[in-house]
């Protein structure tokens, strides 16, 4: 079942085109990461899908409801935690949660129960009666997410949930996000951190200058990118030369006595190379496979700003 679906979503602010035709499909119970540099349009997508701003063109459905025609039904199904925590700084942590409970029209006792459970779950019970002014960045972010969860949303938008957090808080947040998805929630996450997308997401869409430039699982994306290679290490120059003749198109390093053979990273391509070496009875000292990580993917796809890596598409 598709929980978030967009077709040809467009948005401009004045002359500046922020989103230029976005098509997304996010399956229920999965984490979908929107990856992109600052200003790529990630937050704008979240703002549109969470009914904060309207799109100029295109269609979107969230949790089965048309965004343009049933915004209130969408709002009832979603929860949003933004980049800058939206907590009430003059209320205590507990009062913030109770405020959300009131706005979700939960009864007094039900609200209290849920607030207490969330405070416990997010390790905020000790700070329940303090205002967020005294909280650390990680605590604020956890309170923010706890407030989002009071209404039991089926779809959660997390806009850069770990930006500005220290490594420990970051890992805590990752674990919370994994637990949420395990409970059946659908999450659309934006991030500029490749490791975060790699770590959490079932599918990733790379957003650049308002366009989706690539989409797939983390592995699919890595495989798509040139730069993956098999590296063969030889004992001497004659072995190197023999292998280079056999394998044809390779990158040869006479000083290091290595050959680099481009590959898509699949097992079959590796076997093909090894088979040919075997066939010629060529001795190889070492084999290593280098699959591009998401950094390679990112730089390759968004290479208009960064061509120094020399692997533009």
């Amino acid at each position: 079942m598709i929980m978030i679906e967009t077709r040809g979503l467009r948005k401009s602010f004045g002359d500046h085109v922020v989103l230029d035709g976005i098509d997304l499909n996010v399956a229920a119970g999965t984490i979908f990461a929107l990856l992109g540099p600052n200003g790529a349009g990630k937050t704008t997508i979240v703002q549109i899908l969470s009914t904060l701003i309207g799109a100029d063109a295109g269609q979107a459905r969230v949790a089965g409801h048309n965004l343009a025609h049933e915004p209130d039904a969408v709002r009832a199904a979603i929860g949003v935690t933004g980049q800058f925590s939206a907590v009430d700084n003059l209320l205590t942590g507990e009062e913030n949660l109770l405020l959300m409970a009131d706005l979700h029209h939960l009864g007094r006792s039900e609200g209290k129960l849920r607030a207490a459970a969330l405070l416990d779950r997010f390790d905020l019970a000790g700070a329940a009666r303090k205002t967020p002014a005294t909280y650390s960045g990680g605590m604020r972010r956890r309170l923010d997410l706890a407030m989002t969860l009071v209404g039991d949303p089926r779809v959660i938008f997390l806009d850069e949930p770990t930006t500005g957090l220290d490594p420990r808080s970051r890992h805590t947040m990752w674990q919370i996000i994994r637990d949420l998805v395990a409970s059946g929630v659908t999450i659309l996450l934006t991030t500029q951190y490749l490791d975060e997308a790699d770590e959490l997401a079932d599918r990733i869409a790379v957003l650049d200058q308002g366009k989706l430039v690539a989409q797939g699982t983390p592995d699919e994306l890595k495989r798509r990118i040139p730069g993956g290679h098999i590296r063969l290490q030889f004992a001497d120059t004659s072995g190197l030369e023999a292998a280079a003749r056999t394998l044809g198109e390779v990158v040869r390093d006479d000083n290091e006595l290595t050959l680099q053979i481009p590959t898509d990273g699949s097992v079959r391509s590796l076997r093909a190379v090894l088979d040919r070496l075997d066939h010629e009875a060529l001795a190889v000292n070492g084999v290593s496979v280098h699959t591009p990580d998401l950094d390679d993917v990112f730089f390759a796809i968004t290479s208009h700003i960064d061509t120094q890596k020399g692997n533009g598409r």
Binding site: S50, T51, R75
Partner: protein
């Protein structure tokens, strides 16, 4: 529950939030509400009072200058309450909590109505305190109970109108300082009204402006009710201005609040 009862419930929740904000920092709430009106009282009664009062011949009907300016000071109290509203709302907007409310399935108007009702209550309490201080300083109104109730009614109407306008300033002002600056328009209006001196003692364009701007009939009505001076058509004008400003403020605030949103 129906849409209307949800709207009422959400507004009540937002009102509770606003009241809690005021109580959380009670000394600051009181100081910010009372400071300007009390400084004005002291300044105009003890510093300028003698000179202005003598020049205006305001003692003629046996009252002191404090009697003349007390209604004006009450209006200034409402204005400074409005500035607080604008600043609070602007800070709310910049902190992102309003954005959170807008992504929730709650009555859209409740965020603003809660804020307006909270401000109204805060302003009316401040007014009572300011009137108390004025009485201690020698303010001697001649009003009976009915006139007092009518006076409080006019004050509440005016406060309601000004609060909605202040909500607009809070939404339009990009920073709390900006929202505050917009509220200065009202301070200026109060100085060019009948609050401190009679418009007929002013010169040229200012006199014309003072006679026809919205604050003068409100102040004159208040003065009439509290001190027994003639009201004439001021009461009708005052109510009309208040109703007009409320309507403009409400519609404008709603339009700005809903601007850009999916609906």
């Amino acid at each position: 529950m129906s849409t209307l009862s949800f709207a009422l419930r959400d507004s009540a929740t937002m009102l509770r939030r606003d009241v809690r904000h005021s109580l959380r920092n009670l000394p600051m709430t009181l100081i910010s509400g009372l400071l300007v009106p009390i400084i004005m009282l002291v300044l105009f009664v003890y510093v300028f009072g003698g000179a202005i009062g003598a020049g205006q011949g305001l003692m003629a009907h046996g009252g002191a200058y404090i009697d003349y300016i007390a209604p004006g000071i009450i209006i200034m109290t409402v204005i400074s309450g409005g500035a607080t509203t604008a600043i609070n709302l602007c800070m709310d907007m910049s902190e992102g909590i309003i954005a959170r409310f807008r992504t929730m399935a709650i009555s859209r108007a409740s965020v603003l109505t809660g804020q307006v009702l909270g401000s109204l209550i805060r302003t009316m309490i401040t007014i009572v305190l300011v009137i108390g201080v004025a009485l201690l300083m020698g303010f001697r109104p001649s009003a009976g109970p009915v006139a007092w109730i009518a006076a409080l009614g006019i004050i509440a109407l005016f406060a309601f109108a000004l609060t909605w306008m202040s909500v607009v300033f809070g939404l339009v002002g990009k920073t709390p300082a900006g929202a505050n600056s917009l509220s200065l328009i009202f301070q200026l209006l109060s100085f060019t009204s009948s609050a401190f001196v009679r418009p007929d003692s002013m010169s040229g364009v200012v006199r014309w402006f003072a006679s026809y701007q919205p604050f003068t009939p409100v102040i004159d009505t208040l003065r009439g009710l509290l001190l027994g001076t003639p009201i004439g058509n001021s009461a009708v004008l005052a109510v009309a201005w208040c109703a007009g400003l409320t309507l403009i403020g409400y519609l404008w605030a709603r339009a700005v609040y809903n601007r850009n949103s999916a609906r």
